[in-house]
C-alpha cells in the first residue's frame, strides 16, 4: 500500500487516477464513474472560484442530499482546498441558518430539492453569498428571489473544463459537522484532513477494502457516520451507493439490488429491517463487512445479522464526532465474543492505532482497571475543536494532570479494561441520549421549551426506551394554559425532527429528588406506568 495521502482530496484524486472508469457513486438510479464524478465536481469548484468572495473562510456549504449535486458538492469543496459544511433540508431552516452563520460560509452549493426552503434559511444572513444551483438550467427566478446574492446555475458549471485542485495542509479543516449542544445551540466540530485521512485509511485496512467494493450510505451527510461510507470507499476506488429517502424505508431490498458488500448503519436500522422481514437466513450473501455504530449494539442484532449475512464480518464501532467517526472497534468472534458480552450489549472493543484512552472519575483521576468512569481519548483522530467556540472547546478538549496530550472528554461511561479485555460501554454520564443514533442533549430541548413557554419546570426524557437509546422524546412541563399544538409547531421550527417531542405531559408540579433536582427517575417511572 502506498503511503497515506496528506489530504482527503489527494486520496480521492489518487483513486480517480487509478480507477477512472470504475463506478464511484450510484445515486438517483444512475451510476457515475470516478472520471464523471470528478468532472462534475471540478466544474462546481471552478464556478465557485470564478465568483469567490474575497476573504471568504475556507469552508463551502453543501445544502443538498442524496443527489449527484450533494456528493459532487462535497468533492468540489475539497477540490477548492476547503472543508465542507453539510446542511440538511430536513432540519428546521433556522437551525440551518445558525450553522451557516456560525461557519461564516460565503459559498453554498444547493440541489433542487433543498432550494425550496432557501428563503427561510437566508433571511437572517446579511453578507452577500455565492449560491450555485447545478440542477437549474434557468436561474432567472432565483436571481429575482435573492437579489443580494450572486446566483450561478448549470450553465455556469458545465463539466469538461480543467481545474487545478488546491491541496490543503494536513491540519486544514476537511469538514465541519454540527452536533447537539446542551446549552441550546449546536456545536460545529472541526475535523482536519489528518484526522479523517488517518481514520479512513485505517478503516480501509481493517476491512481490506478494494475497488470492487460497493458501500451502503445509510446516514445523512450531517451525521458523522457518513464519512465512513464516503471516504473509506473513495480512498480505495470503491463505489458509494446512496439510497433515496424511499429506498431507505426498505434497506434490505437496496442491499440486494445493488449487491452491497460493505454495510454501515446505526443498530436501529437493523431492528427496523428485522421488523420488515428482511433479516432471514442467507438473505444478504453479498455483504462481506458490516459495521454498526452510533448506538449500543445488542447481541440479538448481531445474531440475526450473522444468519442474514453469513459471509460478513461484523464490527461494532464507537466514537463521538469529536474523535472522527469511529475511534474504538470490536470485531465479533463467534467463539470468544459471547463470553465478552455484558448484559446483552456487545463491547466497544479496542482503541484504533494512534489513539490512547484514559478512564477517569469526576476529578479526572484515572480509575483502577475493572472500575467504571468517563472515557477520555487522545491521538491522531482527536479533532480540532468547536468552530468559533473556544469556551466549549476548552471544557471538552483538556490536558489531564500528568499528561502532555489533549484528551477529548467523551461523556460516555465505560469500564476500564483489565489486561487484554475490550472496553465495555454503559451509556452516558450526563443527560445526553441517543435517538435513532443521533446524539441528543436533553438540555438543548429543555432550553428551547423554556424559551418558548417561559416555564421553568421542563424535563425532557427519551421515550419509549429501546436497548439502543430511545425512539423519541416526551416532555413534562410544569404549569397551565399551554397551547400544545402551537408549542409543537414552534419547536419544530427550531429543532430537527428527531428532537421534537412526540408528547407533552402538563403537570402542576414536577417532583424533586433528595438533592432538590427534578426527579427524572420518578418521571421515567410515570411513563413506564402509563403503558
Amino acid at each position: 500500500m502506498s503511503p497515506a495521502p496528506p489530504s482527503l482530496i489527494s486520496g480521492i484524486l489518487r483513486s480517480a487516477a487509478a480507477f477512472p472508469e470504475r463506478p464511484a457513486l450510484v445515486v438517483d438510479k444512475r451510476s457515475y464513474t470516478y472520471r464523471e464524478l470528478l468532472d462534475v465536481s471540478s466544474a462546481f469548484a471552478a464556478a465557485l472560484d470564478a465568483h469567490a468572495i474575497a476573504g471568504e473562510p475556507p469552508l463551502t456549504a453543501v445544502y443538498a442530499m442524496r443527489s449527484l449535486t450533494a456528493y459532487a458538492g462535497i468533492i468540489a469543496a475539497l477540490l477548492r482546498g476547503h472543508g465542507y459544511v453539510p446542511l440538511n433540508r430536513f432540519y428546521p431552516p433556522n437551525r440551518t441558518e445558525f450553522m451557516l452563520k456560525k461557519s461564516g460560509c460565503r459559498a453554498i452549493i444547493v440541489d433542487a430539492e433543498s432550494a425550496a426552503q432557501l428563503d427561510d434559511v437566508l433571511k437572517g444572513i446579511d453578507q452577500p453569498l455565492v449560491l450555485l444551483f447545478p440542477d437549474l438550467e434557468d436561474v432567472s427566478a432565483v436571481k429575482a428571489r435573492f437579489p443580494r446574492h450572486a446566483i450561478l446555475g448549470a450553465r455556469d458549471a458545465v463539466p469538461g473544463a480543467s481545474y487545478t485542485p488546491k491541496i490543503p495542509g494536513a491540519d486544514a479543516i476537511a469538514y465541519v459537522i454540527f452536533t447537539s449542544g446542551s446549552t441550546g445551540t449546536p456545536k460545529g466540530v472541526m475535523t482536519s484532513n489528518r484526522n479523517i485521512v488517518t481514520y479512513a485509511e485505517y478503516a480501509a485496512e481493517r476491512g481490506r477494502v478494494t475497488e470492487r467494493d460497493r458501500f451502503s450510505q445509510s446516514c445523512a451527510t450531517t451525521f458523522d457516520g457518513s464519512v465512513f461510507d464516503l471516504f473509506t470507499a473513495w480512498l480505495r476506488g470503491a463505489c458509494v451507493c446512496s439510497p433515496s429517502q424511499k429506498e431507505l424505508l426498505n434497506p434490505g431490498a437496496f442491499i440486494k439490488k445493488h449487491e452491497i458488500t460493505v454495510w454501515f448503519s446505526v443498530p436501529s436500522l437493523a431492528v427496523f429491517m428485522k421488523r420488515l422481514g428482511s433479516l432471514k437466513k442467507g438473505n444478504f450473501p453479498s455483504l462481506r463487512w458490516s459495521t454498526f455504530g452510533g448506538e449500543a449494539l445488542s447481541v440479538d442484532i448481531v445474531n440475526s445479522w450473522r444468519e442474514t449475512a453469513p459471509n460478513s464480518e461484523i464490527d461494532n464501532g464507537y466514537g463521538p464526532t469529536e474523535t472522527t467517526c469511529m475511534s474504538v472497534y470490536y470485531r465479533w468472534d463467534p467463539v470468544a465474543s459471547p463470553k465478552e458480552v455484558h448484559q446483552g450489549i456487545v463491547p466497544i472493543g479496542y482503541a484504533n492505532p494512534g489513539m490512547s484512552i484514559m478512564v477517569c472519575d469526576e476529578n479526572l483521576r484515572e480509575v483502577s482497571p475493572g472500575e467504571r468512569g468517563e472515557l477520555l481519548m487522545a491521538g491522531t483522530q482527536i479533532s480540532l475543536g468547536y468552530l468559533h467556540d473556544p469556551e466549549r472547546t476548552k471544557r471538552a478538549y483538556i490536558v489531564p494532570a500528568g499528561k502532555k496530550e489533549i484528551y477529548y472528554r467523551t461523556g460516555d461511561l465505560v469500564q476500564r479494561p483489565r489486561g487484554g479485555e475490550p472496553i465495555l460501554y454503559f451509556g452516558r454520564i450526563d443527560f445526553q441520549i441517543k435517538v435513532l443514533g443521533h446524539r441528543v442533549e436533553l438540555g438543548e430541548i429543555e432550553a428551547v421549551i423554556r424559551d418558548e413557554t417561559g416555564a421553568h419546570g421542563v424535563v425532557a426524557l427519551g421515550w419509549p426506551m429501546t436497548p439502543n437509546g430511545a425512539q423519541g422524546i416526551e416532555v413534562f412541563i410544569e404549569g397551565t394554559g399551554f397551547d400544545l399544538g402551537d408549542l409543537k409547531r414552534r419547536i419544530s421550527m427550531r429543532l430537527p425532527e428527531f428532537m421534537v417531542p412526540k408528547k407533552f405531559h402538563v403537570v402542576s408540579r414536577i417532583p424533586l429528588n433528595e438533592n432538590g433536582k427534578f426527579d427524572r427517575l420518578a418521571l421515567q417511572h410515570m411513563l413506564e406506568a402509563a403503558v
Binding site: 424511499k246 424505508l249 426498505n250 431490498a253 420488515l276 422481514g277 428482511s278
Partner: protein, 92 residues
Amino acid sequence: MSVVKADEVKRFIAAFLADALSENNVTENEVNDDLDLMKRGIIDSIDLINLIAGIEEHFNIEVDFEDMDTEQLTIVGPLAKYIEERAKMKTA
C-alpha cells in the same frame, strides 16, 4: 385464519393514525388510495414500523414487506392491497 380485505386495512390505517391525520389537517375523506402518508408528513419511518406492527396485531397476520415496491410502501392503496395479497398467500 380469516381473510383480510384491503378496505378493512384502509379503515384500520385511518383509525390508527387518527391523531396524526388531524394534526396534519387531513380529513377522513382524504384518506384515499393515493394518499402518501410520508410525503404528507403524517408518518415518519418509526411511525411506519408502529403502523405495520399495529396492522399485524389487529389482523393477526405476519407480513414480509421486503418484496414490496419501496416507492409505494407509504401510499395507502398499494400498502393495503399488498397486505391483502400477502395475507391470502399465507392462508392458501
